[in-house]
C-alpha cells in the first residue's frame, strides 16, 4: 500500500516535545563560546533628524565591551530596496540609521556586553539627540507629499502599478446597480513565537558563519553578503530550528548584518535575540492596504464590472510589502468570471515599521476586497450572497485558464467547492435559524459569511521558472539522507520528504535524515514561502529518488550479472530482483557499499499552481455590546492531492486562525505621531485559544498536472479564505439592523458604532 496520502506522524516531534527544539538562542556550538551580546538602541521617535549620538555613558557601564553608532558603519553601502529597478531606488536604508530615523524602532546604535543582563541595563544609557520631524502615518498624508521621508526621492510614492488615468470610464456601462466603498485591510503583526535572533562568528579564513532563524538560508546568505559588502562565498548561513516565520523571516534583516559586523569588528563571536517589544516594532508587519472598490451588475445577480484601487503602506523602508499590490492585482477577480475589470495600486512609505510578507502576502487582500464587494453588491440587489457567488464563478476547467490580469489558473472547480462547503455547513438550516432569531428579536444575533477564493502558490522567483533541487543518498547501513533547498519552520518537511522518498526507495520513513539550511552543504535553494515547498521541493525529492533507482539499477545489473531491463525493484524489500527469479536479488543499501549512491536533481515546474476553495463562518453578535463571537468555521480547501492529511490539516488550521484573527481582533495601531500602541503581547491582541472554535474541514482534491505529485500549495489558504468569511459573518449578523459594513478588526466598539449609525440612519429615513 502506498504511504502517500496517509496520516504519518511527524518524525520531528519526539525531540520538540522533550528536550525542545534547538532555536538560535539555544545554540551551544563551541564556535560560539565566549560570545558577546548585542543590544540595539532604537529610535523612540517616528521621524527625526539624528543629532549627536553619545555612547560614553554606555561605554562606562559594567560589562560593556563596545558601542557603535551609524557613523561607525558608514563605510558599508546603503541598502537599496529589493527589485530596485521597479521600486524607487532612492529609498535606501543604512544598517544603523545615520542622518534620519524613519520609524519607532529604527536602530541607531548598538551596545555590546559580556552578559545579556548588562546589555539590558546599558542600552538605556545611550543618549541620542533627535530633531523631530512630522510623522507620516496616514495614507493620505503620505500621498500628499507634504512631509517626505526620503528627500532624495522627492516623493513618498515607492511604485505605481497602473495609474488612475488608465481607468476605463465605460467599465460599468450597462450595469443596473453600481456599488462603491472604501475600506481597509489593516496592518497586522506576523508574531512568530520565536522572535528574530542571530549568532555570528568569523573564521581565520575570513569567512562568516552565522546562524539565523530564516525561511531560506540561501537568500539570507545573499542578503547578508550585499549588506556587509562581501562576496556570497564568504558567508555561510546555518538555519537552526525556526520558531515560526509566516513570511517575515525570509532573507536577512539589517540587524542580522549588524551582529555579523560586530563579530568581525571585535574579533569574537556575537549573539543577539530580540525581545518581543523589539519584535513587534521592528520585524516587518503584514497587510496594510486600503481598498476602494466599485462593483456593478444586473439586478438578477450578474456581476459585469469590478474595479479595485489599492494603496499599499510600505512602512518606512520599502521591502516586499511595497510590491504586494502586484499580487493583489493579479488575483483581483479571483474565481469569478467578470467581463470588465481593472485594478491599480500605489505603494507609499510612511513613518512606521516596514511591511513585508505575511502568510498570503497580497492574495488575502485581493480576496478580502472582492468578497466584501460581492457582499455589498448582494445586499444592494437583495440576493443571497452564496447565490451571487455561484452565479458568477468560472465554470470548471481542466485546461489552464488565462485571466485578464496575467494569471494562468492551472485547474479548478470553484462551484463544487462552494456547494461542498455550503453542504458541510448546513447552509439552508443556518439561514433558517438566522431568520428565526431575527424574528425573535433577541439581543444575540447570528450571521453567516461565505468566501470563495483562488490563490497563487509556487510562483517563480525573480530568476524565472519555479524550481527546486534535492539530493537523495542511500547509505550502506540502510539509512538515507535527503538534502533539500526548502526550509521548514513547522511544516514537517522531515516527515513529508521522507514519505516521498520512502515510497520510491522502500526505506522506512524513520530511516531518513532530512537536512536543509546550511549554505555550504546546500548552496542553492528557494527556501519555504509562497506555499511552494511540496510542489517543487517535494517533487524534486521524488524525481531524485526515481533517478536514484535508475542509477542503482545499473549497479544491480552488474552485481546480479543480469540485464538491467530484466530487473524489478521491489519497494517492499528495498531490493532489485531478476524477473522470474526472486532469489537473485540485491538490496539497495548493498549497492552503496563500494561507491556512494546518490542523485542530485532539479525539478522545474511549468508554472505556478492555483489552489481554491470556499470558507463559511458562523458568528454571533451581541447587539447591545457589539461583541462578536466566532462559532464555526467550515472550509473546503482544494490544494490538489494531499500527501499527508495530518500535515495539510495542520496548515489549514493555523491559517484559518490567523485569518480569523485579522477579521476579529488583531491590528497594529499607531497614534498620529507614529507611536506604536501595540508593542507587546499585552497590547497586541494575538489570538488565543478562547477566541476560536474548533474548525470543520471538508476535503476536496483536484489534481494539478504541473507536478507528478499532483499537489498545490496549502500553507496560505487559511488566511486567504477565512478573513473575509469571518468579517462577513459578523456583518451579516447585524445586516437586518441596517449595517452594510464594519471595518476589520471587528472590535465590539466598531460593531456597536455601526449599529448606532445604522439605527440613526434608519430613524432619519423614517422621519424623512
Amino acid at each position: 500500500m502506498s504511504i502517500l496520502g496517509t496520516r504519518v506522524l511527524r518524525t520531528e516531534d519526539p525531540r520538540f516535545l522533550t528536550t525542545g527544539g534547538v532555536y538560535t538562542e539555544d545554540l551551544t556550538d563551541e564556535a560560539l563560546d565566549g560570545a558577546c551580546h548585542v543590544f540595539f538602541v532604537r529610535s523612540p521617535i517616528a521621524h527625526a533628524r539624528i543629532g549627536r549620538v553619545d555612547l560614553s555613558a554606555a561605554l562606562a557601564a559594567p560589562g560593556v565591551i563596545a558601542a557603535f553608532s551609524g557613523a561607525d558603519l558608514a563605510d558599508l553601502p546603503a541598502i537599496e530596496p529589493m527589485m530596485a529597478g521597479m521600486l524607487n531606488a532612492k529609498m535606501t536604508r543604512r544598517l544603523l540609521a545615520i542622518d534620519k530615523v524613519r520609524f519607532v524602532g529604527d536602530p541607531v546604535a548598538v551596545v555590546v556586553t559580556e552578559d545579556p543582563y548588562q546589555g539590558e541595563d546599558a542600552v538605556e544609557l545611550v543618549d541620542v539627540d533627535y530633531d523631530p520631524l512630522p510623522a507620516v502615518v496616514d495614507f493620505d498624508d503620505a500621498l500628499s507629499n507634504e512631509t517626505i521621508l526620503f528627500e532624495d526621492a522627492g516623493t513618498n510614492v515607492v511604485v505605481e502599478f497602473g495609474n488612475a488615468g488608465s481607468l476605463k470610464p465605460e467599465l460599468f456601462d450597462g450595469c443596473e446597480v453600481v456599488v462603491s466603498h472604501t475600506f481597509g485591510n489593516q496592518r497586522v503583526a506576523p508574531a512568530p513565537m520565536e522572535s528574530r535572533a542571530a549568532a555570528a562568528v568569523w573564521g581565520e579564513d575570513g569567512r562568516l558563519t552565522t546562524w539565523i532563524p530564516n525561511q531560506g538560508a540561501q537568500s539570507a546568505r545573499d542578503d547578508l553578503a550585499k549588506m556587509l559588502d562581501v562576496e556570497a562565498s564568504q558567508v555561510r548561513v546555518i538555519t537552526p530550528d525556526v520558531g515560526g516565520a509566516f513570511g517575515a523571516k525570509f532573507g536577512a534583516d539589517p540587524e542580522h548584518a549588524v551582529v555579523a559586523w560586530v563579530a568581525r569588528q571585535l574579533g569574537r563571536p556575537a549573539r543577539w535575540t530580540e525581545t518581543r517589544f523589539e519584535n513587534l516594532i521592528s520585524m516587518t508587519h503584514g497587510r496594510g492596504q486600503r481598498h476602494t472598490i466599485m462593483i456593478g451588475g444586473s439586478r438578477d445577480g450578474d456581476v459585469l464590472g469590478y474595479r479595485l484601487e489599492i494603496i499599499q503602506d510600505g512602512g518606512a523602508y520599502p521591502r516586499i510589502g511595497a510590491v504586494l499590490p502586484f499580487l493583489t492585482i493579479m488575483m483581483a477577480t479571483g474565481p469569478y468570471s467578470i467581463p470588465n475589470a481593472e485594478a491599480i495600486g500605489t505603494s507609499v512609505v510612511t513613518t512606521t515599521t516596514p511591511i513585508g510578507a505575511y502568510r498570503g502576502a497580497g492574495r488575502p487582500e485581493a480576496t478580502a476586497a472582492l468578497e466584501r464587494a460581492l457582499d455589498l453588491f448582494a445586499a444592494e440587489i437583495g440576493m443571497d450572497p452564496a447565490d451571487v457567488r455561484r452565479r458568477n464563478l468560472l465554470p470548471p476547467f481542466t485546461e489552464p485558464h488565462q485571466t485578464a490580469f496575467g494569471a494562468l489558473y492551472d485547474s479548478g472547480d470553484y462551484a463544487a467547492a462552494l456547494d461542498k462547503a455550503l453542504e458541510a455547513a448546513g447552509y439552508a438550516d443556518l439561514r433558517a435559524e438566522q431568520a428565526s432569531r431575527r424574528a425573535s428579536g433577541g439581543t444575540v444575533q447570528m450571521g453567516i459569511g461565505v468566501s470563495c477564493y483562488v490563490e497563487i502558490t509556487g510562483g517563480g522567483d525573480e530568476s524565472g521558472a519555479p524550481q527546486e533541487n534535492a539530493t537523495v543518498e542511500v547509505h550502506p547501513d540502510g539509512t538515507a539522507t535527503i538534502l533539500t533547498g526548502t526550509s521548514p519552520h513547522g511544516q514537517g518537511h522531515s516527515t513529508a520528504w521522507a514519505m516521498i522518498a520512502s515510497e520510491e526507495l522502500g526505506i522506512p520513513v524513520e530511516n531518513f535524515t532530512v537536512r536543509w539550511g546550511d549554505t555550504d552543504l546546500i548552496p542553492v535553494g528557494g527556501g519555504t514561502g509562497g506555499s511552494r515547498s511540496l510542489q517543487q521541493g517535494g517533487a524534486a525529492v521524488q524525481q531524485a529518488s526515481k533517478e536514484l533507482i535508475e542509477l542503482a539499477r545499473e549497479r544491480a545489473a552488474a552485481a546480479l550479472e543480469a540485464s538491467a531491463a530484466d530487473l524489478q525493484f521491489d519497494p517492499g524489500r528495498s531490493a532489485f530482483a531478476v524477473a522470474g527469479d526472486p532469489d537473485a536479488s540485491v538490496r539497495l543499501a548493498d549497492l552503496a557499499k563500494d561507491e556512494r549512491l546518490f542523485v542530485h536533481s532539479i525539478f522545474t515546474a511549468p508554472g505556478a499552481t492555483f489552489p481554491f476553495g470556499t470558507h463559511v463562518a458562523v458568528a454571533e453578535v451581541d447587539t447591545e455590546t457589539g461583541k462578536a463571537v466566532l462559532r464555526r468555521v467550515i472550509t473546503v480547501d482544494d490544494a490538489g492531492l494531499v500527501l499527508n492529511p495530518l500535515l495539510a490539516e495542520g496548515q489549514r488550521h493555523g491559517g484559518i486562525a490567523q485569518g480569523a484573527a485579522q477579521a476579529l481582533l488583531e491590528e497594529v495601531v499607531y497614534d498620529a505621531d507614529g507611536n506604536p500602541l501595540t508593542a507587546s503581547f499585552a497590547d497586541y491582541p494575538i489570538v488565543s485559544a478562547t477566541e476560536l472554535p474548533s474548525f470543520e474541514l471538508a476535503s476536496m482534491e483536484t489534481p494539478t498536472s504541473y507536478n507528478p505529485l499532483g499537489v498545490k500549495g496549502i500553507g496560505e489558504a487559511g488566511t486567504i479564505g477565512a478573513t473575509p468569511a469571518v468579517q462577513s459573518a459578523i456583518i451579516d449578523a447585524v445586516a437586518h439592523l441596517g449595517v452594510r459594513h464594519v471595518e476589520m478588526p471587528t472590535t465590539p466598539m466598531r460593531v456597536w458604532r455601526a449599529l448606532v449609525e445604522a439605527s440613526a440612519q434608519g430613524t432619519d429615513s423614517e422621519s424623512a
Binding site: 532555536y23 520558531g243 478562547t690
Partner: protein, 156 residues
C-alpha cells in the same frame, strides 16, 4: 545568593544573581533549554514549567523564589527516550508545528489535567488561554489535551 531546589528530580545548589529569572536559571545555569522565552509581558507561556506540580510562567518567577521547591521542565516529564501521555497525545494529534510554544504548552496541559482530569473543550481553551501558539490555530492542541484525558478519539 545561593538557591537550593530540585530540578527534574535532581537536588541542586547554585550561586545566582538575586534578579536572575527562573527561566534564565533553567536555561543558562542548568542547561535545560526546552522552556523558551517568547515575550516580555508574561503573556505567551512558552516558558511554562511546573513548580511543585503547578504550572508557572518561569519568566515571572525569580530563581530565588524557587528555593526549597520542586521544578519540573519538559525534559523531566518522562524518562529519557519516552513520552509522557500528554506529550504522546500532542504527537498523535499533531498538536505542534514549529515547536517553540510546545514545551510550555505541554506543561500547562499537564497542570490543567491534574486539576481537572476530564475537562470540556471550553475548559481546555480557557485553561490554555495564557499559552500562545501561532502555528496550530489551537485546534489540534485542544484535541491533544482531550485525547490525553481519554475523552477524544485519537484520529491517527
Amino acid at each position: 545568593m545561593q538557591v537550593e531546589l530540585t530540578v527534574n528530580g535532581e537536588q541542586r545548589s547554585d550561586d545566582v544573581e538575586p534578579r536572575l529569572l527562573l527561566v534564565h536559571y533553567l536555561r543558562e545555569v542548568c542547561g535545560l533549554r526546552a522552556a523558551n522565552i517568547g515575550c516580555d509581558t508574561t503573556s505567551c507561556g512558552a516558558c511554562t514549567v511546573l513548580l511543585n506540580g503547578e504550572s508557572v510562567k518561569s519568566c515571572t518567577v525569580l530563581a530565588a523564589q524557587a528555593t526549597g521547591q520542586d521544578v519540573v521542565t519538559a525534559e523531566g516529564l518522562a524518562a529519557a527516550g519516552e513520552l509522557h501521555p500528554v506529550q504522546a497525545a500532542f504527537r498523535a494529534e499533531h498538536g505542534l508545528q514549529c515547536g517553540f510554544c510546545t514545551p510550555g504548552m505541554v506543561m500547562a496541559a499537564v497542570s490543567l489535567l491534574r486539576e481537572n482530569p476530564s475537562p470540556t473543550e471550553e475548559q481546555v481553551r480557557e485553561g490554555l488561554e495564557g499559552n500562545l501558539c501561532r502555528c496550530t490555530g489551537y485546534h489540534n492542541i485542544i484535541r491533544a489535551v482531550l485525547a490525553a484525558s481519554g475523552q477524544a478519539e485519537v484520529t491517527a
